[in-house]
Symmetry: C2
């Protein structure tokens, strides 16, 4: 399904804390929902450690493979923040103080508070473009199709808005969900038939448990609303025939 001509994105979560299980990544879901709204489906996510050679190799692999790459994590002031330097090396661009970033941070902090740790956050590929940070000063950056964002979820999310007009997406991916009081095995055969009749629509089936009751969410995704509607009406037909209850979640 990975077609070079399609517009798509890869996400690269950088951080030992996610691999150790200490931190639950939530940035993938934030990025994916935002990218879908721009018509850019996420083709792959990788979580990798704070390890220079792994970051360099993975950035170089993914930036060739996907239209856009979004990294999160590793652009703060401490010794384990090595994303900016690693991305510089991936692109073979000098790593050093970025003039505009330095100036932004110098203005952001009170006189005397712009210490060595904070200055490190102005170090990045010197020719990078900045991603402004409305939340806490320190900017992210992008080089070609690789966008480097911080790992703190609230700060990362606040920085996405400035990228809306920069990214070129396809048609937004539309999604509709039907929640049923049933189990997957009761509808599996009928759903397969509907999928076979509607090959350009992606139908997902996801069991859920809520308030002690089992259910199944059927998610229908496509860029074409009329195709979703046709598919939904076929689903609702077998749901009615089988006398399955439709529920809220």
């Amino acid at each position: 399904m990975q077609n070079k001509k399609e517009i798509n994105a890869g996400i690269l979560i950088i951080g030992n804390e996610v691999l150790s299980g200490r931190t639950q990544d939530v940035n993938t879901s934030t990025l994916a929902i935002w990218l879908n709204s721009l018509g850019i489906p996420v083709a792959e996510v990788r979580v990798i450690p704070d390890d220079e050679s792994i970051i360099i190799n993975t950035v170089n692999e993914l930036r060739k493979k996907y239209s856009y790459v979004f990294t999160t994590g590793g652009i703060g002031p401490t010794h384990d923040d090595i994303t900016a330097e690693s991305v510089s090396k991936a692109f073979n661009i000098e790593y050093g103080f970025h003039k505009e970033a330095f100036s932004i941070l110098e203005n952001y902090y009170k006189p005397g508070e712009f210490n060595e740790g904070r200055q490190k956050m102005a170090k990045m590929p010197v020719s990078a473009n900045l991603i402004l940070n409305p939340s806490s000063g320190a900017p992210g950056f992008y080089v070609e199709n690789v966008f480097c964002l911080p790992g703190v979820p609230s700060i990362m999310k606040a920085m996405l808005g400035s990228l809306n007009n920069l990214l070129v997406g396809g048609e937004p991916i539309l999604s509709e969900t039907i929640n049923l009081r049933t189990v997957e095995s009761e509808i599996a055969k009928s759903l397969t038939e509907v999928q076979n009749n509607n090959s350009e629509v992606e139908i997902g089936s996801y069991p859920f448990f809520k308030a002690g009751k089992l259910g199944v969410s059927i998610v229908v995704r496509s860029v074409d609303k009329t195709k979703i509607d046709k598919c939904n009406s076929e689903i609702l037909k077998f749901v009615k025939d089988k006398e399955i209850e439709i529920v809220e979640r």
Copy 2:
């Protein structure tokens, strides 16, 4: 850092619902914490779509790269559950009814309820080993070093216990956390010095916001408790010198 002689694991989250942002993956963190307790660090996580050729290629790449591979998702009864068939193809093993799995499921369901959808959950690589499911009947399976688990978090978690004695781990990775009322930039320089003095210990620095207050969690990880203790005492020394408050989280 990826040393072929080290024992490590890769995690493969299979599912369009994670890539679309609809579902927040929580299995990575469950698996990582459990694997760490067995002395098996997670080297990489990938999230990929329900796409046969991508699953085959990724399974074949990761199973050569890591000691163990854990997949989640795609082993249910519906048309979008294609992990078992894809893993069969990755290993070039016949995909069909697994006798023991079929027998387990036949016994699990009431007479007449073992329908076509449920029977599909007995289809897998015919020579696979089963991973028993104490929660909902349908087993997972493993072939060589690739362990295939369901995507529903509570069911997946319940199935891990049966694998404890099967996996050969290294020394458990120990971890201690010191939470400080400070910001990263205030301690970045001192922390770098401590890391340089303690190269065999992994020190992570993670900002947090709780009850409206900023803080930093310093996480020190190693297989060697005495190395963690030495490192912690050096951290506590600069914390005292800088008059930084130690806090609960």
